[in-house]
């Protein structure tokens, strides 16, 4: 049940900071042409923001535009526009939301026109669709494209050959194109400085994510987590702004932890932690608040999520390393969550279940994201087998509102929570009998 007297939703300093950062980046994008700034479009997984900044370029992320538009309920129309133009109903809705937005004038989520990119920086990391998406955008913008092929961790490990291949592409393909498009010479010391800032921010992010090991967890690592990863997954990794954001966030979460508080939700502080869950898969964005409410109404807190690792997996120890700048960027790209093979993904989830003392696993299977979704039913079985804890499966989509069925999802969640209760009751009876 929702707390009848929720605390007022007071914005923390970190929230205000992030809001200003996002608005600032969109503002810079809107005035890029007037300001003489070049723009690179790129993706979240394998995002090379530290490198892009070395060339004074701005970073525009089509996935983030789709997410922002999804949260503003604009993507339904964009997707239908793209389908009207011949794009299949079966394919990724991020792509169609982006193409539909472009078809309707390329007005960004904040209502201002987005600039045409000067460079498409295609980091082909953990998702086949990225490659086609950028070919589609290239046909649209007819601008230069730099392709960075990031090999998949088929055997669950990063090899020297993989790192060397990515580094060579950075040196031979990506950096020369960034130099050519921007007119700025590459300065590796500048990259080192950016990477050092990234590592500082990553340290604080990991601390925040791991705070969920406490009972009660002071954060929701999925619904809240998507806000926490925002700066580091997008146009701010490597900036002072990001360092400052994560410093503020860590301090705020530290206070919550010290006070024994649960997560902040749109309805205020969550009073009672009844279920601790690990969630696999991206959230639905078009009904994000409604989706979240289904959890906090029941006292369910997500203590770890895989989606919050899609743009970089830092809690296993990886940090951007200024002493090995290009190798470090390569290892970052290679290590993103969906670039790991299925056994490695399952190992990670099982580890989260254990370390975060989760009651169960919930998979939100996304219709249009095969990178995440193909194989998730095996993930579910394996986690149940290994941990003995219940897992549940719901289906929705990223930004297509047609595939969010609240009644079905709510029913499934309620049944799932009952299952967790029964399992707990069973465990208690067994313990008493023993």
């Amino acid at each position: 049940m929702t707390n009848p007297n929720p605390s007022p939703a007071i914005k923390d300093s970190s929230m205000l900071k992030q809001k200003a950062m996002i608005a600032g980046n969109y503002g810079k994008l809107e005035t890029a042409a007037a300001d003489g700034r070049k723009v690179a479009a790129t993706f979240v997984p394998g995002n090379l923001n530290e490198l892009i900044m070395c060339f004074d370029m701005l970073n525009n992320l089509p996935e983030i535009n789709a997410i922002q538009n999804g949260m503003r309920k604009k993507t339904g129309g964009y997707i239908m526009e793209a389908e009207k133009r011949g794009h299949s109903e079966d394919v990724c809705t991020y792509v169609k939301a982006d193409l539909g937005m472009i078809a309707k004038g390329n007005i960004g989520p904040d209502g201002q026109k987005l600039p045409d990119p000067d460079l498409l920086l295609l980091s082909y990391t953990g998702c086949f669709t990225f490659m086609k998406w950028f070919e589609l955008l290239r046909a649209q913008y007819k601008c230069e494209t730099a392709m960075l092929h990031v090999p998949y961790q088929g055997d669950g490990k990063i090899t020297k050959t993989m790192v060397s291949y990515v580094v060579k592409q950075l040196k031979e393909e990506v950096i020369p194109k960034l130099e050519r498009v921007s007119g700025v010479a590459f300065d590796i010391d500048r990259l080192r400085e950016n990477l050092a800032r990234s590592a500082r921010a990553e340290e604080d992010l990991v601390w925040v994510l791991e705070s969920a090991k406490a009972r009660p967890s002071p954060i929701d690592a999925y619904f809240g987590g998507v806000y926490y990863i925002g700066p580091i997954f997008t146009a701010f990794r490597g900036t002072e702004d990001a360092v400052e954001y994560y410093r503020l966030l860590r301090a705020e979460i530290g206070e919550r932890l010290a006070r024994g508080q649960g997560p902040v939700t749109p309805a205020g502080d969550m009073p009672d932690e009844r279920y601790r869950l690990v969630v696999e898969g991206p959230p639905n964005w078009t009904s994000f608040r409604e989706f979240w409410k289904m959890f906090y109404d029941e006292g369910a807190v997500v203590v770890a999520s895989t989606y919050s690792k899609v743009g970089g997996l830092y809690d296993l120890g990886f940090r951007h390393d200024p002493d090995r700048p290009l190798e470090s960027l390569a290892e970052y790209c290679l290590g993103c969550y969906t670039n790991r093979n299925l056994p490695a993904r399952i190992d990670l989830i099982a580890q989260y279940m254990e370390e975060y003392q989760a009651d169960g696993l919930l998979i939100n299977s996304i219709k249009s994201c095969n990178s995440f979704s193909a194989g998730q039913l095996l993930v579910l079985r394996e986690i149940e087998r290994r941990t003995g804890k219940p897992a549940a499966f719901i289906e929705s989509d990223l930004v297509d509102p047609r595939y969010f069925s609240p009644a079905n999802i709510k029913n499934r969640l309620e049944s799932y929570f009952q299952m967790v209760d029964q399992r707990r009751a069973g465990s208690k009876s067994a313990a008493r009998a023993a």
């Binding site: 086609k132 046909a139 090999p151 088929g154 095969n370 979704s373 193909a374 039913l377």
Partner: protein, 390 residues
Amino acid sequence: MIPTTTEIIARCQALFDDLNFTYAREWKAARPGRIVVGYMPFYVPRELIHAAGGLPLGVLGGGEQLEVIQGDAYYQSYICRIPRSTIELGVTNRLDFVDVMLFPSICDVIRNLSGMWKIMFPKVRSRYFDVPQNYRDDVGGEFYIHELAELRDLLAEASGQPVGDDALRASIALYNENRALVREVYAFRARQPWQAPSAEVYLLMRAGMIVAVEEHSRMLREYLAAAAAENRPRRDNSRVVVTGAFCEQPPLNLIKSIELSGCYIVDDDFMLVNRWERSDVAEAGDPLANLADAYLHNSGDTSAKYEPDQAKKGLYLVEAVKRTRAEGVIFASPSFCDPALLERPMLQQVLAAHDIPFIAFKYAENSGQMQPIREQAGTFADSIKLWSNP
């Protein structure tokens, strides 16, 4: 005595229908030390498997004959059918003789299936086989040679014998011969499609996914001779290229339906692996470097491959139309196939720019209802005859 087309195709049909892969089982049992290496679409270097004393076995799903029961429990409704029928083949022990499974870099579904295979069939050596999307010799080429070397090591481990350069060069020569014959059959069909119906050509090529390369080359030669000797009626059909079917295969009835509706299929992308290299792979010198060179600079195009040059995007389809004197293109793609369906609008734009008519539909490997396909393809054939420039 040269067998007739009927006899050759009857043998191919029997191979196609046999989901217990009796041929491959018997091939393996015939000599100790032999291995069978399964591979999924679209491309693996079969020469390496052959040189390791192995039989490359194309695993192209369960088709329309296989009832998928357990496989459906592993996939949501919005995932294509080939991974679920492949799992069905696995869990029903139809692939229990396969020593190594290879999963080429074609899409996220097949990529993730490689990991599923490791979990579900831990005794089988399985590998995700990556191919470079960078086509520079010193960048993608170097990476790919390393991938090939790792695959060679894996195969040597599975077969218990090293894969030497001489053996590999000999295998490359055999596959060069086979690819040349495959190209010859395709060229023959493009010249005289009434003499080589697409269902026959399809079954002949499917046989090449199962039988040893030496035997398949013999079948191709025999078919070329037998088909040329036939005297089949020439119909006033439209000539079409079928594209988008490079992974999950269409039902045989779909191919027959397209022809029955008034279209001669003069080119297709059903099984790209059998003619992936457009001309011979060099036989002298370092064989891994030669395979890499062929992949980077002399291989076909498909949507699983990045096209670095926007100006060249999709032109391979226009060239196929010109080369085969086709009058239109049919986009036949499996439902939920990311590579084919994301690529389709880009290819359609290129075709439109070249005034090449096209239609599109989707299928699943077990699609049973062909009436809509016949109607659509028939209308397309008629419209070409009525409205296209002579």
